[in-house]
């Protein structure tokens, strides 16, 4: 089964037709195509562009605002759209599928023109720096010199940090939500179990599975596991508790042995099953690894203050107090570095019981913070 992209307004930018895009490790790669969507109108001064970066498994479809034919929900509809915090009536919103992804931008499931087959594991181990460099090329291609803001959550927030480091002049402000400049070993551990589930799936076949059965079981298990890290013990308890999947009398169990007995089990299986319909296992391996490898300080070779020292505009960091994937302490380290540098930095640790997923859910405080912050952004 191949992934179909249902979005009406998706556009493609051919970054390069040749093998001439220099990756962080020095090797050359190409061709590269970037799938992106834009919402709203770029003004004459070209100073109302907002670049939004998706998390691990997101895509360019950040909002359903301008889907004319069929409305497909956007992954950040709560925050982005007409009259929303990031108002597409005011701002020109750009969102692209990440380099290495599987929703239209070049990734391991793309065809390698040298072989005529999907790259699979011959795709290079790209980095967040490479992904951000591709995003910057798209912004250049759209004729925008300075963005109003670059915003993202989770892997998207890590990418914003890389923008602050690689392209500090390219935006008047930066918004980093539920993110860190490096992944903790606990989170690497969770993603490693997920990757192992994919690699151990007999259908994985060394990454060369596109013409046969896909490693759906492995990818399902990887998603089930990762999904737990996006929730909090409180939210999972509140939503599912020890409820059974079917009505059961006390002292009875509805299933023999290992069928989905509890509601939480069934929920995770459903989430995993739904995920394999829209995501490529190789992209999942590459993107999780990219996230785990990332350390903006290059494994402490550079002080964090040096990484962030060239930022000129305002920055905003937001964490959620129940998030254990990227914790408030992860945000604080960056905020502290910005304070030390005397930069204009704002930090809010929002009270939410929903864990890492909180940034995608309805949250009035998050919405007013983001909207007020962007309104007050000046040209650098």
């Amino acid at each position: 089964m191949s992934i179909t992209i249902p979005y009406q307004n998706i556009k493609y930018f051919n970054l390069t037709e040749k093998k001439d895009f220099k990756l962080e490790d020095g090797t050359l790669f190409g061709p590269i195509t970037v799938a992106y969507e834009t919402f709203g109108t770029l003004n004459a001064e070209k100073d109302n562009a907002v670049f939004i970066i998706h998390a691990l498994t997101g895509d360019s479809h950040v909002t359903s605002a301008e889907d004319n034919d069929t409305v497909t929900p956007g992954w950040w509809d709560k925050l982005v759209g007409k009259g929303k915090a990031i108002d597409t009536d005011k701002y020109f919103v750009i969102s692209s599928n990440a380099f290495g992804g599987c929703m239209g931008t070049t990734g391991p499931s793309s065809i390698n023109p040298e072989t005529g087959k999907q790259y699979g594991q011959s795709f290079p181990l790209i980095t967040i720096k490479d992904m951000v460099k591709v995003q910057k090329k798209l912004v250049d291609h759209l004729g925008i010199h300075t963005l109003k803001t670059v915003i993202g959550g989770s892997l998207g927030g890590m990418s914003v940090i890389e923008w602050m480091s690689s392209f500090p002049d390219a935006s008047d402000s930066f918004i980093v939500i539920a993110a860190s400049y490096k992944t903790s070993s606990q989170i690497i551990a969770f993603y490693e179990v997920g990757r192992n589930a994919i690699l151990a799936d007999p259908n994985y076949n060394g990454g060369d599975y596109y013409e046969s059965k896909h490693p759906d079981n492995g990818l399902t298990i990887a998603r089930m596991l990762a999904h737990i890290t996006y929730l909090s013990s409180h939210s999972i308890e509140e939503k599912f508790g020890r409820n059974f999947q079917n009505e059961t009398k006390a002292g009875e169990y509805p299933y023999a042995n290992f069928g989905p007995m509890f509601a939480i089990e069934s929920y995770l299986r459903y989430q995993g099953k739904k995920f394999v319909e829209r995501f490529d296992a190789n992209s999942y391996l590459y993107l999780t690894k990219t996230m785990d490898i990332y350390d903006a300080t290059n494994n402490a070779a550079i002080p964090l203050t040096d990484v962030l020292k060239n930022v000129k505009g305002k920055s905003l960091f937001i964490s959620f107090n129940s998030d254990w994937h990227f914790t408030p302490a992860d945000s604080w380290v960056m905020v502290k570095a910005m304070m030390e540098l005397g930069k204009e930095v704002t930090y809010v640790n929002l009270d939410s019981p929903y864990g890492h997923d909180a940034f995608l859910l309805e949250n009035n405080e998050l919405e007013s913070i983001v909207s007020s912050f962007i309104k007050n952004v000046r040209r650098i």
Binding site: K314, L316, W332, V335, K336, M339, E340, G342, E344, V345, T346, Y347, V348, N349, L350, D351, E365, S368, I369, S372, F373, K375, N376
Partner: protein
Amino acid sequence: MKLPKEEINNIILNEIKEDSKVLDLGCGDGTLLKFLIDNKNVVGHGIDFNTEEIIKCIEKGISVIHWNLDNLPLDFPDSSYDMVILTQTLQQVYHPEKLILEILRVGKEAILSFPNFGSKSIRWQFLMKGKMPITSDLPNKWYNTPNIKLLTIKDFIDFCNENDIDIITQAYFKSDKGQHTKIKFLPNIMADIAVFKIRKNK
């Protein structure tokens, strides 16, 4: 130059150098910090723990950091600010002693203001009514007050002497219907609010 009605804000403004780095602890809705940014072009960070107040700061375009002043030590580097300001908040924290010492580590100088619990109106209410005093600067009842560590001007001066803290300037104010007027005579009895500029004696 635009000046606010509040005499106390003017006193603070006069003590702030142009383009300096200022940290306003317990900045509330950011009114004072905005005033300092507009008039002295300071690089200012506000600190508050209340999300509603933080949002009001962001609406004003102020850089504000979410931090609880009872969470000590302050995780900010040594001497990273020219001036640290703590207005009408000292009496609301759990560890005022530790907080003042932290303020003088983080800032080269500090301005502190607090309601004087030695003022005559407070003394009068306590003596004659035998009840917890209520004033315009301390308007709450005993059971819902955020003001938990009340002090007098004399107490503060003693504290500075005991902790090698230099008092650089001081100003005393009488409150009347939300307006403050400067006074000099018998401050520990006459003043409702005290403002001190201090630094650590090296």
